[in-house]
Symmetry: C2
Subunit: 182 residues, 2 copies
DNA sequence: ACAAAATATATCAATTCGATATATGGTCTA
DNA sequence: TAGACCATATATCGAATTGATATATTTTGT
């Protein structure tokens, strides 16, 4: 699914600027399952305008900085739901952290522990923000997606915490068995 | 993390061809947390060769098709672990399925149900293959990452199954209340 | 013996990322 | 109240990546 469809979908909920779309996709309630940058959003909006799937009101009053508020058109709505009739592609998960974990045995134990602790903190933060959003806009269109994110992050947090505990136990045992030999 | 680092990391475990790297990243034990196509892998290997981080033996014997087996060099290994000393970037999750779910209320219930059922089947397949891999290469370097994937997919599967059940209950109630009014 | 699938390298247009440039409005504080 | 700083907002550009395709040989299945 390309950024054009993403923009069109977001605009089907409310009219907004390119800046707003980027905020939703990169920081807001949609950010845990999609992403887009200015560098793809603005060209996408230009193309959507050309295709007459969206229109914008140029709010350039009183010498204020131009502010293009985009709205979806009927034609755009039709196109969106045609697109949505196709099978969705597979989920994509990329984790630099998990890639790093492949080299766990080749780095000092304390280094990997730091990675674990940091990841736990990050996951906790993500989980909290998703739970807050889920409580807040209950019954909204993103309720299902937020619940999905909560379930995923809970499981990950649990896995990481258990791994950290077993990691520390193993390290302690290794130290003790080392001091036995001294 | 770029494809160059990905290739270098994979080659630090074993020498192999570009084709093999792509298989590992797109279908193998690493595929649930990273991805790369030929279009980025082959240029990456060229660059790594230029930088002397890898070397290849050109196995073009007896007029056979050329087959470049890449190996990491000592220089490459040093570079890899320098890179691995930096903080890993955040995980990225993209889900077209979750994007589609935003429009749940705007499509026929049976359409969304189909999406759910399909997603459940896919997740079950992914989970099974991850569990199999995890049993198989226990204690290998990807053990932690596989366990992470298993935990995540288990949670997702559980969430989806519960949602489907509640979905069907709601639909049934809606139908009954409709027939009451008839 | 033949067809189909897997192995293997490579390239290319289209897309997307990530960073940066530019400019205004609002808020905080010394 | 001046200055600093951050949020809002549009836009562009080189670099990186995707996704599809071309080509050719070997292996596997029937």
């Amino acid at each position: 699914m390309n950024v054009r469809t993403l923009c069109l979908g977001i605009l089907s909920f409310a009219q907004m600027t390119g800046y707003d779309i980027r905020k939703l996709a990169a920081e807001g309630n949609f950010s845990h399952f999609c992403e887009a940058n200015y560098g793809s959003i603005y060209p996408a909006l230009s193309q959507l305008t050309k295709d007459e799937f969206v229109v914008f009101t140029d709010e350039a009053l009183d010498g204020k900085p131009p502010r293009k508020i985009y709205s979806i058109t009927e034609k755009g709505r039709v196109h969106l739901f045609e697109t949505l009739n196709k099978q969705p592609g597979p989920d994509r998960f990329k984790s630099e952290f998990l890639f790093y974990s492949l080299f766990q045995d080749k780095m000092p134990a304390s280094d990997f522990r730091k990675l674990l602790v940091r990841k736990i903190a990050e996951t906790r933060d993500t989980l909290e923000s998703l739970e807050k959003a889920n409580d807040c806009c209950d019954h909204g269109p993103s309720h299902f997606a937020l619940g999905y994110g909560v379930a995923m992050n809970k499981a990950v947090l649990d896995y990481l915490k258990k791994y950290l505990a077993s990691f520390d136990t193993t390290q302690k045992e290794a130290t003790e068995s080392l001091s036995d030999k001294d």
